[in-house]
């Protein structure tokens, strides 16, 4: 089954991190991605730029509304994601727990709705 692992964390905290902390985090993510490659479970994944650079779009009554900012203002923001393919939820949760973002924020695990 395919799952999306969404990495939620505090952007402000990330922005305030020291150069050393950022380096440590990047190295941890590199090792994590490498481990997922080796296990053959990774299908994709990206880091997102902060929500200050987000734009929301919605079409209502034939009119397109474009707004500056993220969809929802939350304490923790979506900062990146991985797409993985594993046998079941336990395996997905186990990978989510290993993500460096799990120790600084929250991981949301969502099964992918397969296209017919």
């Amino acid at each position: 089954m395919q799952y999306l692992l969404m990495i939620y964390g505090n952007e402000a905290g990330m922005a305030a991190a020291s150069k050393e902390q950022v380096g440590q985090m990047s190295a941890a993510y590199a090792a994590y991605s490498e481990a997922m490659q080796k296990a053959g479970v990774i299908r994709g994944g990206e880091r997102l730029r902060p929500t200050s650079e987000a734009t929301t779009v919605r079409v209502s009554g034939g009119k397109t509304q474009v707004l500056d900012g993220p969809y929802a203002d939350t304490k923790e923001q979506l900062g990146g994601f991985y797409m993985i393919d594993v046998p079941d939820l336990d395996a997905a949760l186990s990978w989510a727990a290993k993500c460096p973002g799990a120790s600084t924020g929250t991981m949301e695990v969502r099964p992918i709705w397969p296209m017919q």
Partner: protein
Amino acid sequence: MSTEVAARATAEDVARRSYGKLVAYLSARTRDVAAAEDALSDAFAAALADWPNGIPDNPEAWLITVARRKAIDAARRRQSGEDNAAQVRLMAEELEAAAVSDIPDQRLALMFACAHPAIDAGIRAPLILQTILGFDAATIASAFLVAPATMGQRLARAKNKIREAGVPFRVPERGELRERLDAVLAAIYAAFAEGWSDPAGTEARRRNLAEEGIWLGRLVASLMPDEPEALGLLALMLFAESRRGARRNTDGDYVPLAEQDTAAWDAALIEEAEAVLLRASRMGEIGRYQLEAAVQSAHVVRRLTGAADWTAIDKIYDALLALTGSPVVAINRAAAVAETQGPAAGLAALDALAGDARLADYQPYWAARAGLLARMDDAAAAATAYDRAIGLESDPAVRRFLQARRASLAH
């Protein structure tokens, strides 16, 4: 006996013994519990029509075969896309395969799926009652004091999550078994506790839930005979069940444990509980349920010695408190301290908990406090504490008991 009656009796017997086994077997591959339940329900209806002509040699295998056929029919009716067609093929292949004569027991795997950490903790016990024992949503709802429609929705949502999120049907590996088994045991204990909390036995459905909890406890203990906590939980439930009848006198009044007539305790259940607990303790791995069962054991020893073993109870609660940090355990420990070191020491132990906001609305805390204050002849403070306890109690028999105690305080 007419053939209809015989057929019905056989069907009821199979449902009682094997319902969960059949659901587990039918849903293990697809993880679709709801579809398995529907197919099985159709199969039981077919059995009632068919079996009067002759009861099959292997009723379980007959039900599995019919249920699978019903499941394929249902899937075909829903059939829309490729995915569904593949599933129908898969089910048809299973049907073609040699008829099952010996159905593997996958109930444990199903229970671990129901009590998976991804499933909301509050719905785990209802889910196990439904999938393993075949309780309908309305019965479960009345036992858990929830609106039937709400319970039905929550059960459907949990089954949907099991199917769509890929919750595995599997007994966990050694490394995570302890924690995952705790969740299964907690769900069973929750079902038992719902039934046990109706001491007057006025609601047949609730009393039944205590028996079903014990049935599930026996099942897990038999499937995992080397897990001391599974045995510990079974012993705990058996001890509690043994005192069911003694909790009310003939007038329906509440009788506290210390004043219960030991002749009203069920000696056979106590004996079984002691044997199960002994077997667990020989495995040399202590845990919450074994300790709670040990407390019960130290209480019921009164039937032999004339007094509960308060020194032992005090020590066990110390261990339980260290293990769980639960304020409920702390209250019980304070009551034990009052027996071993006097009411002042017990009250001091209760005072140490006074800061815990969770206890402000917790009846046993105020009842324990009131009892100790009364023993120390502080009638005014005892009356205030009794008033809090009375106001928080929902069982009329216990409320009457507390009111009588309050009235007997010296003025």
